[in-house]
């Protein structure tokens, strides 16, 4: 059974949109969980020593900022799809373009959409696009996610 019954209903779907602010503990724990020993991701003073205005957020955490800030989260992004988590859902690709470093305390406004669905015999590939701006409306980052949904 295909996980996407009607591609036309899914592609182009806009997420609700919203905001996300990275709190200090999120960046700190993410750095710990990824074995990142750079204290610029844990302490503001260390971040300022490397030219940042505030405690830095690990760049790949931008994926979570995008998904939650878009108002959809992971499950909302998969809405409309017949997902069987037990069959296997896998992260296929992720890409970022950073216009500024990500920092703790900044509120990012995010928009996103389902950009594409590719249907294969044994799996579908879902492409999600997100764009984030900072409080001043300046571009912060853009990210694309490709998720493989087996069936």
């Amino acid at each position: 059974m295909m996980s996407v019954d009607n591609v036309e209903d899914v592609v182009g779907r806009q997420f609700p949109g919203g905001e996300f602010t990275v709190e200090r503990w999120m960046a700190y724990l993410w750095a710990d969980a990824t074995r990142n020993d750079d204290d610029a991701f844990r302490h503001e003073e260390a971040a300022k020593e490397v030219g940042a205005d505030a405690q830095l957020v690990p760049p790949e955490f931008g994926m979570h900022i995008a998904m939650e800030g878009s108002g959809a989260g992971i499950e909302g992004a998969l809405e409309g799809l017949d997902i069987d988590w037990e069959s296997g859902v896998f992260h296929g690709e992720q890409s970022f373009t950073f216009h500024q470093p990500l920092v703790v305390g900044e509120t990012y406004s995010v928009t996103g959409e389902v950009a594409d669905v590719e249907q294969k015999e044994k799996f579908d590939i879902l492409s999600l696009d997100y764009e984030a701006t900072d409080t001043q409306g300046n571009p912060a980052f853009r990210t694309q996610t490709r998720i493989i949904i087996t069936h």
């Binding site: 999120m26 724990l29 993410w30 710990d32 969980a33 990824t34 074995r35 990142n36 750079d38 610029a40 991701f41 490397v50 030219g51 940042a52 830095l56 690990p58 760049p59 790949e60 955490f61 994926m63 979570h64 998904m67 939650e68 989260g73 992971i74 499950e75 988590w85 037990e86 069959s87 296997g88 859902v89 896998f90 992260h91 296929g92 690709e93 992720q94 890409s95 970022f96 373009t97 950073f98 470093p101």
Partner: protein, 142 residues
């Protein structure tokens, strides 16, 4: 590192991450509110025929990012990052992240390097491939 000290083809960083821990997958699962059971439920991975919990893509990506940033003067100099997840990394695996210079160029008076990134498992399997662009200062050679 300085822009003029970089040569195309250089391997500029290798970072080893041994015995990938399940605990860290659980932390990332909680942080991301990720319902995918492959990251925290061994019954699910067993049913799928996997040898253990699966390391999240963003964690694997972080290992490669750390290799890329080893050449930078500051994490603020990372301008792009991408990853293609080829094979699963499982709990207990040892992996090696490598950054190699693919290209260097100048733009608006600043130096940039495009790095090829690789995350390999101990048995030589390619787990993740990717690229990163890092801005490097131009100055006197060391």
């Amino acid at each position: 590192m300085k822009f003029q000290d970089i040569t195309i083809g250089d391997t500029v960083a290798e970072k080893s991450f041994e015995d990938v821990p399940a605990k860290n997958m659980e932390i990332v699962t909680a942080l991301m509110e990720d319902p995918n059971p492959i990251h925290f439920d061994r019954r699910a991975t067993e049913q799928m025929g996997r040898p253990g919990l699966v390391n999240q893509g963003p964690i694997n990506m972080s290992y490669m990012t750390q290799a890329a940033l080893a050449v930078a003067e500051s994490p603020t100099d990372l301008t792009s990052l991408e990853a293609r997840f080829e094979e699963n990394v499982f709990e207990g695996d040892d992996v090696l992240a490598t950054a190699t210079v693919d290209e260097k160029y100048e733009e608006d008076g600043e130096g940039y390097v495009n790095l090829g990134l690789l995350l390999e498992k101990a048995d030589g399997t390619t787990a993740v491939t990717g690229t990163a662009t890092v801005r490097l200062p131009k100055g006197e050679s060391v």
